[in-house]
């Protein structure tokens, strides 16, 4: 402590200590980052002429937002949107229902080891596979249409919700659950009285959040033939019908905003 003397410090410059203390490591990291950035920029082929040409189209698209065309493809838009909503609702219901038992099974503090391993395995697979890849495979297996989309979203919901539910159960207050157990409750009663009240608000919140995600995802499943508004949107882009595309995007943004608003209200209510 006393080996640092004021007289030694006075007149010496002060520099903020570096975040990475080891200078070799610090410079290696900086050099590596710079080298990567150079390499990355070198290998990106940008056709600036094409980009420049595109600016007009980009501007046309921005303008399209001021005059979206809801009418000329109204029936396509309506059908696609309805299909998206239907897939969202059905997949959310089924996904939430399935993810509750799997979530219970994936919580280490209430499930026996074999069940835990099995459920965690399901969660890991579901999370590792992206929606769009699952959709491609399911379309190949079940054919085109909303069934593949519905299954995709259900599967993705399970991975998302089970994991978060399990983490929530693992973080719950042990004492409350033990008190119920001490009253001689059987396992189902214990879950119902000791665990459910603690995780319910968060489960509702997460479910609402997932419905929101499911709707957003349902908008792209149509790109690979799994139903929903995506197909209509893709066609609109292919035909350069920016005003129709703008109309669809506005509808998607509007619905997502409405869902977020709704979920905010519901979350505030259950908490």
């Amino acid at each position: 402590m006393s080996d640092i003397r004021l007289d030694d410090k006075l007149g010496t410059a002060w520099r903020k200590p570096h975040f990475v203390k080891n200078p070799t490591l610090r410079w290696t990291l900086i050099a590596g980052f710079v080298a990567y950035m150079i390499a990355a920029f070198m290998t990106i082929e940008v056709d600036w002429g094409r980009v420049y040409e595109g600016l007009d189209r980009g501007w046309a698209f921005v303008l399209a937002f001021t005059s979206p065309d809801f009418t000329s493809r109204a029936s396509d838009i309506w059908e696609g949107l309805l299909e998206s909503i239907v897939m969202t609702v059905a997949a959310s219901v089924v996904g939430i229902l399935i993810s509750i038992p799997i979530g219970l099974g994936a919580a280490r503090n209430i499930a026996p080891l074999p069940v835990y391993v099995l459920c965690r395995g399901i969660v890991a697979i579901s999370r590792a596979l992206q929606e769009i890849i699952v959709a491609i495979l399911l379309v190949a297996i079940f054919g085109f249409g909303p069934l593949a989309g519905f299954l995709t979203l259900s599967f993705a919901t399970i991975g998302f919700l089970s994991k978060l539910l399990a983490e929530d159960i693992e973080a719950m207050d042990r004492v409350q659950a033990e008190a119920i157990k001490a009253s001689g409750a059987r396992w189902t009663q214990w879950i119902n009285y000791g665990v459910q009240p603690q995780v319910m608000p968060r489960l509702v919140g997460l479910s609402m959040y997932r419905i929101d995600i499911n709707f957003r995802e349902s908008a792209i499943l149509g790109l690979v033939g799994a139903g929903g508004i995506g197909a209509t949107l893709n066609t609109a882009f292919d035909r350069y019908e920016y005003d129709t595309a703008a109309a669809i995007l506005i509808l998607i943004i509007g619905i997502v905003m409405a869902l977020e608003y709704l979920s905010g209200i519901i979350r505030a209510k259950v908490q």
Partner: protein, 271 residues
């Protein structure tokens, strides 16, 4: 707690008669909606294909195994492109998300009435639309390629990063900001000394988190022509080269696992 008299004894019910009626009706409505949704899905499904699904799945499986290992030599460049799309997209998004977040946070916005709603609109509209749709749009505007992918990922990530960041800004300890302001610091100095150090950990966490998500998303951007390994996936699917598809899926899975591991490591090091 409603208690009713019945035959001279007091009976406890969890809810009043009216409450339980409303609940019961709510459930009925929910079930009806679900059944309706299911019927729509069912109506647009070719059930013959569904009954045939196990055979088709089996068929695809036999064709896809074993993966065509030697094809991996052609995947080096696509993987590199995928990494670049995710990384550069994330960096660009972060640069744009920071100002948006400061404009959107209640305690730092210059004008709650005019600028904050605009910032929030940017956040919600970029966030509601999937990166695949942004990619579709950008391809229509600036043509296919890695650059469209980078921009698509960047736009999609602005809203996500800005939302988490502005929530972090709203949660900072205001007394530290006050203390800096009390020294006579200017507006920018208050920001650099009072606010930025407090949100740095959140910022780093968000950056790594979003990078991880972007790796996943950029693997499939190629499906619509925006570069990366998805291009190979799409090409292989089009010619039904299942052994290549299975290899690509394995590579994507590996990339996702590695990126998740890296992001977990970095987040652990920061916090």
């Amino acid at each position: 707690m409603p208690v009713r008299e019945q035959n001279g004894t007091q009976i406890w019910h969890r809810r009043t008669g009216r409450e339980s009626l409303v609940r019961w009706f709510g459930w009925l409505l929910g079930v009806a909606v679900f059944v309706y949704c299911w019927q729509i899905i069912s109506a647009s499904t070719t059930w013959f294909f569904v009954w045939d699904a196990p055979r088709i799945a089996n068929d695809i499986w036999t064709r896809a195994t074993p993966p065509k290992w030697e094809y991996v030599t052609q995947l080096g460049r696509p993987i590199w492109d995928t990494l670049n799309i995710a990384t550069l997209g994330t960096l660009i998004a972060l640069c744009l998300a920071v100002p948006v977040a400061f404009l959107a946070a209640r305690n730092t916005t210059p004008s709650g009435l005019f600028i904050r709603p605009i910032a929030l609109l940017i956040i919600v509209s970029t966030r509601s639309i999937n990166s695949l749709i942004w990619a579709l749009l950008l391809i229509a505007i600036i043509g296919p390629g890695v650059f469209a992918g980078v921009v698509a990922i960047a736009i999609r990530s602005i809203g996500f990063c800005a939302k988490l960041l502005y929530e972090a800004i709203e949660e900072i300890d205001q007394s530290q900001v006050e203390a800096i302001a009390a020294t006579g610091a200017s507006r920018w100095q208050v920001m650099a000394y009072g606010i930025v150090p407090q949100i740095m950990p959140a910022f780093a966490g968000i950056a790594v988190f979003r990078w991880d998500i972007n790796i996943r998303e950029s693997t499939v951007l190629g499906l619509v022509g925006a570069g990366g390994i998805g291009l190979q996936l799409s090409a292989s699917l089009n010619v039904l080269a299942w052994p290549q598809v299975s290899l690509i899926l394995l590579v994507i899975l590996l990339a996702v696992v590695i990126s998740e591991w890296v992001s977990a490591k970095i987040r652990g090091a920061i916090i």
